[in-house]
């Protein structure tokens, strides 16, 4: 019972701060709101019985990626979007309308997906690591290390000032 209450509390927090991310004109406030969204999602992961993913969410997303975002926002001294939007009101209306269509269509499909979740689900860090290092995902796991190395070199090469 308390789980359900806490879940809806964090779900409302996540949805509300996501709306702030989109509605806010100042990117700095958007970034701070996105951190709140990611923290709430971490709590929801915990409630869904995935403590490992909940911890990863805080460490990788809120800890690493968002710090990178805040760093770039402050480095570039980003100002808020000022003045009227250059986009026509027709485009904005179409975007919101298409968003509503997506929400209704996918919502109908997902709502029909009623499966009784099995009891005794164990997604502790040990179990997830076991699955990760099983023969099924081992090569994919190794490939991600190459991906990160490539991203590292690419980021340095792109951001470097040419002489």
């Amino acid at each position: 019972m308390i789980d359900t209450v806490v879940f809806y509390l964090f779900a409302a927090l996540a949805a509300g701060s996501a709306l702030v991310v989109v509605g806010q004109r100042n990117p700095l406030y958007s970034a701070l709101a996105l951190i709140v969204t990611m923290g709430s999602l971490s709590a929801i992961f915990g409630l869904l019985g995935s403590p490992f993913i909940a911890a990863l969410q805080v460490v990788v997303y809120a800890g690493a990626i968002m710090v990178l975002f805040l760093f770039v926002i402050m480095l570039l001294n980003v100002k808020r979007e000022d003045g009227e939007s250059s986009q026509s009101p027709g485009l904005r209306t179409t975007a919101i309308l298409l968003g509503a269509v997506l929400l209704v269509q996918a919502g109908t499909v997902l709502w029909a997906w009623q499966v009784a979740a099995p009891a005794g689900f164990d997604a502790s860090a040990v179990k997830v690591a076991q699955a990760l290092f099983s023969s099924r995902y081992l090569y994919v796991f190794e490939a991600t290390s190459v991906l990160i190395l490539a991203a590292l070199v690419g980021a340095v090469a792109l951001a470097k000032r040419e002489r």
Partner: protein, 102 residues
Amino acid sequence: MSGALAQPALMLSLLLFTIGVVGVFLRRNVITVFMCVELMLNAVNLAFVAFSRQMGTLDGQVLVFFVMTVAAAEAAVGLAIIIAIHRHKDTLDVDAFNLMKW
């Protein structure tokens, strides 16, 4: 006990994804657009965890791990591109980046 929350979690995931999609179209600042993409990735992660809970398998959790890795790489490269573009154009307005636009 936590199994009953999987269905509402899917709905929340869809809501967050839609907010991200609409944000990509509405915002003009390239950094905010990029943050909306991150929001969509987070929503998909939530869907993976909810499906994993409903099916009782750990594959969804492993996929979330990979999505997070790719998101970290994508954020690093994307922000480097944003810095490089800002150096050339001196603006972050997506409407100004039209060199490759047909």
